[in-house]
């Protein structure tokens, strides 16, 4: 066979490391050709933004969002990241992608053309498809509204700073941040209800905000209304009332609606923090899947580009080098070990699904009768990307082969013993247990403490009672708990009690209390 050198080089997307805007555009077109054309990915329109490393640090500081209201804790993260970066102890990510419509992808100017192509395949195709199709993102976030909302939040907060002083705003935000993880309504039912209400209320709030911008501020909603509410209730604590529904797991929501002493703008700040917590909630639950999806996609696309002669061998080697360092998983006793690598785990499981769908072994047929040999790996993957989150994904699709490849083993840890014990390894008896434990490890609701407001006396002592359902004897970390309770009490305005109750026996294990002097 004859190789025609001119023809071979003419198909190359680029040659060498330097990039230009034209090259990036060309690379994007080819990447999209494969991603959308061949794989049939369903994506939001992309916006590629070229930024410098300093701007990347800025983006880090605002938790990866293009803009954010101002608060000292972001400054703290900024100076820390900056310090680490300058010292060389922390490298910056190659890319940053925002779950928005249009989907914003940041790429850094100092990267090579190969890396840009990789990033386009990874973020602009992989993450983008996942954001648009995964059920959690669809249910919990509004990609089309987030940029507007951030804009609103930022200007609202700075307006509050002008009107009420930086200290007052900072105090409320501190309090709200402390309870951020308790600002989410986890059960889908309540979420759906709220989501509708939220849309309406948010529009209303924004409308009011605009009105207030040139009107006498904050007096639009009369104050008495807020105070009357608690007094007008008949059986406040028992939970029968329509206004105070107990128990309530969303602490921020509860405070926003019922805390007796808060001003309107303070309630709105709680709401902003709560909405952001909700926006990030799906990301926390889909780390493995999201990164796995993006990594699988970039791996597929880059290989297709190489197969069709659009990538040179040099570029392919550069890509493989960075791909393999991204998907490296150090052993538990390795110095570099810092937990399971979501890129590695997600990528491995998805590659394995691809294998099971096309070349199943008899073991696969036993374990995954529904997808083994189905012959449509991309279709299976797209369905999985849409319908699962980390814990259910692992519980369903972690195959014995991946367990063997990673040499996963289960550990049982009892606090009172000086040793931990190996509970299961990668053998016939251990597969299911390893899989179950790993799934549990990614289940966000079992990682976060289970807190609920169980009683709020709105007439007499105005005491608020929060319960912590203690599972497996794991208590709250004391110092942090006391400090967070202080923030809770500051928002509530009165005495707050936290009881830690054993989930099974119902026995009260510990009580914390914070008195808020009026």
């Amino acid at each position: 066979m004859q190789i025609n050198p001119t023809k071979a080089t003419s198909k190359l997307l680029f040659d060498g490391a330097d990039w230009t805007f034209d090259l990036v555009k060309k690379a994007y077109d080819s990447v999209q050709e494969i991603g959308v054309g061949e794989l049939g990915l369903d994506i939001y329109p992309n916006v590629i933004e070229v930024i410098t490393s300093e701007q990347m640090l800025d983006a880090y500081a605002s938790i990866g969002l293009p803009q954010m209201y101002r608060h000292w804790s972001y400054g703290k993260h900024f100076v820390r990241d900056e310090m680490n970066y300058r010292r060389g102890s922390q490298a910056l990510a190659y890319e940053l992608v925002i779950n928005s419509d249009p989907c914003i992808n940041y790429i850094m100017e100092e990267n090579s053309m190969t890396m840009h192509t990789l990033v386009l395949a990874h973020a602009a195709m992989g993450h983008n498809h996942f954001f648009k199709n995964n059920y959690l993102f669809q249910e919990w976030t509004r990609a089309d509204a987030i940029l507007d909302y951030l804009d609103f939040a930022k200007s609202y907060v700075s307006r509050c700073e002008e009107l009420h002083g930086m200290n007052a705003v900072e105090q409320v935000l501190d309090d709200a941040h402390a309870l951020m993880q308790q600002g989410i309504s986890r059960y889908p039912g309540s979420n759906k209800q709220m989501s509708l209400a939220r849309e309406r209320e948010r529009a209303l709030a924004r409308h009011l905000y605009e009105e207030r911008s040139f009107n006498d501020l904050w007096r639009t909603v009369p104050k008495q209304q807020v105070q009357e509410k608690p007094e007008g209730e008949e059986a406040p604590a028992s939970g029968g009332s329509s206004q105070v529904r107990l128990p309530e797991e969303n602490l921020l929501y509860f405070l926003e609606k019922t805390a007796p002493k808060l001003e309107d703008w303070e309630r709105e700040l709680l709401r902003i923090v709560r909405n952001l917590a909700t926006y990030f909630y799906p990301q926390r639950q889909t780390k493995v899947m999201n990164e796995g999806c993006a990594t699988w996609t970039h791996f597929h696309i880059m290989n297709r580009l190489y197969d069709t002669g659009q990538l040179s061998e040099g570029a392919m080697l550069e890509f493989l080098h960075s791909h393999s360092s991204v998907t490296m998983q150090p052993s538990w006793n390795d110095r570099r070990f810092s937990g399971l690598n979501p890129y590695a785990l997600g990528f491995a499981i998805m590659r394995d699904i691809e294998r099971i769908a096309t070349e199943p072994t008899s073991e696969d047929k036993d374990w995954f009768p529904d997808i083994a040999g189905s012959g449509d790996p991309v279709g299976e993957l797209k369905r999985i990307w849409a319908e699962f989150r980390d814990d259910s994904f692992i519980l369903q699709y972690l195959s014995p082969k991946v367990i063997r490849d990673f040499r996963l083993f289960g550990i049982h840890d009892e606090a009172q013993y000086p040793h931990v014990f190996v509970s299961s390894i990668h053998d016939e008896r251990g597969y299911r247990r390893v899989r179950q434990n790993l799934a549990q490890q990614y289940c966000v609701s079992s990682l976060d403490p289970d807190l609920q407001i169980i009683d709020a006396d709105l007439q007499g002592s105005r005491r608020l009672v929060v319960s912590h359902r203690v599972r497996n004897g794991v208590m709250l970390e004391r110092a942090n708990c006391e400090r967070t309770l202080y923030h809770l009490a500051r928002l509530w305005g009165y005495r707050v009690k936290l009881v830690e109750v054993d989930a099974e026996s119902g026995k009260v294990l510990k009580e914390h209390e914070n008195l808020r002097m009026p």
């Binding site: 933004e49 640090l57 800025d58 500081a61 900072e170």
Partner: protein
């Protein structure tokens, strides 16, 4: 798909957050700055600084689960030879999950970050209670002035350089053969003459008229002054040419000067140093300490060494004079002196001091500042020998200032002249 170049967008997007952060941790950072000032050399005061603060006020608590209680199951990768039932000892402090434990652990105790020069000076000045205008002046690194920098072909009319412009115009007119006014006049005369003759020579007249028409046309097409000719004076901002200065730090180091008093004196020297460095490209610092004998020492010894003996101030002046004569000729150097003392002196030495100051030192110095340091609880000052002696100088010499200081905030007024009336001190 759309590609946007954001690289030119403002970079310091996090500045607001950073300022809020510094505001939040102010007490701790200020303490760290004070510490840094103590350990820093007088001449290093202008640089940024890595500060280390405890992150007590920077805590962001959340409800978290205690990894040291209850039981849990988790999965690890990379099993080599473990089988079910094997026991692995827990790592000593941070609990089973390494990353989680250590992250919290190290984050709680200390927080290191670097302050920029600007932020550092801000906090330093805050202690000294400098007026805002002065702060701004001191922080600006360089003062500039306009200086001629050749010519340019565009500019505002007021900067038009007439000589250059006319020179260009002349050269162009010669090159393009623009007929002069004289030629035109002469031609007109010749035509008139030709017309006056009778009978007129029609051929000659015709030729003359044609030439006249050409001359007029040429004068119209080749302008007298073309935009091409314009030349403007160009100015550039250049750093102000400044010379060198030497700063003498004189201090009494007899046993009565405590550490606290020395710290006060140090802040006094630092402030003068910042001021000088704004004005002069090169600032050298000479440290002279004295008891009943004086000697030039390095900074380390100056602040830390301790001597015993009486106090004879004039010895320091003699030493200073010696150094000036040896190394700092008055023609090349601006001399500043800052003296700090607790006010003790042998009473019969004052006369000697005054005569040295009056006869030579004060006329050699651009500025001579004296602070008398004391503890805040000393009450109303018993007048000291030095203070009484120096009181006569006020009014007689513009470049002399003195002040009693018990706290850092009182230092600045000593320099009030120096800062408010820059012209007289620049010399």
């Amino acid at each position: 798909m759309q590609i946007v170049d954001r690289r030119l967008n403002p970079k310091a997007k996090s500045l607001g957050n950073r300022q809020r952060f510094i505001r939040r941790a102010k007490a701790e950072i200020k303490e760290a700055v004070r510490e840094a000032v103590r350990s820093r050399k007088v001449s290093d005061i202008g640089a940024g600084e890595d500060v280390r603060i405890s992150s007590k006020s920077l805590r962001e608590p959340v409800f978290s689960l205690d990894s040291k209680s209850g039981s849990r199951d988790f999965v690890l990768p990379g099993n080599s030879d473990l089988v079910v039932g094997d026991a692995i000892p827990k790592p000593p402090p941070a609990g089973g999950r390494g990353s989680k434990g250590s992250k919290d652990g190290s984050g709680e105790d200390e927080f290191v970050f670097s302050l920029s020069r600007e932020e550092f000076l801000d906090l330093f000045f805050e202690d000294l209670q400098l007026p805002n205008l002065v702060k701004a002046k001191l922080k600006s690194v360089k003062s500039t002035e306009l200086s001629r920098a050749g010519f340019s072909s565009d500019g505002s009319p007021s900067k038009l350089n007439q000589v250059r412009t006319m020179r260009n115009s002349l050269a162009r007119r010669i090159a393009l053969h623009r007929p002069s006014l004289a030629t035109l006049e002469q031609l007109k005369e010749e035509i008139a003459e030709a017309e006056a003759e009778s009978p007129p020579d029609e051929n000659l007249l015709e030729e003359l008229r044609a030439r006249h028409a050409r001359v007029v046309c040429l004068r119209k097409t080749v302008a007298y002054l073309d935009p091409l000719d314009l030349k403007f004076n160009r100015f550039e901002r250049v750093p102000k040419p400044s010379t060198q200065a030497v700063m003498f730090c004189l201090m009494d180091v007899s046993a009565s000067m405590t550490e606290r008093l020395k710290d006060l004196a140090k802040q006094f020297y630092m402030l003068l140093n910042i001021f000088l460095r704004r004005h002069y490209r090169e600032v050298q610092v000479v440290f002279i300490r004295h008891t009943n004998v004086a000697q030039e020492v390095d900074e380390e010894t100056f602040f830390s060494g301790r001597e015993t003996g009486g106090t004879v101030v004039s010895t320091a002046f003699v030493e200073m004079q010696r150094v000036i004569n040896e190394r700092y000729p008055l023609s090349d150097w601006n001399i500043y002196a800052a003296q700090a003392s607790d006010g003790h002196n042998f009473s019969d030495d004052m006369e000697e001091c005054m005569s040295i100051l009056q006869s030579s030192l004060l006329s050699q110095c651009q500025y001579f500042a004296y602070i008398e340091v004391g503890a805040p609880d000393d009450g109303p000052y018993p007048s000291s020998e030095v203070w009484e002696g120096y009181e006569d100088l006020i009014g007689q010499h513009d470049n002399f200032a003195m002040r009693r200081v018990t706290e850092a905030g009182e230092i600045y007024p000593v320099f009030r002249n120096l800062f408010s009336d820059e012209k007289s001190t620049k010399g």
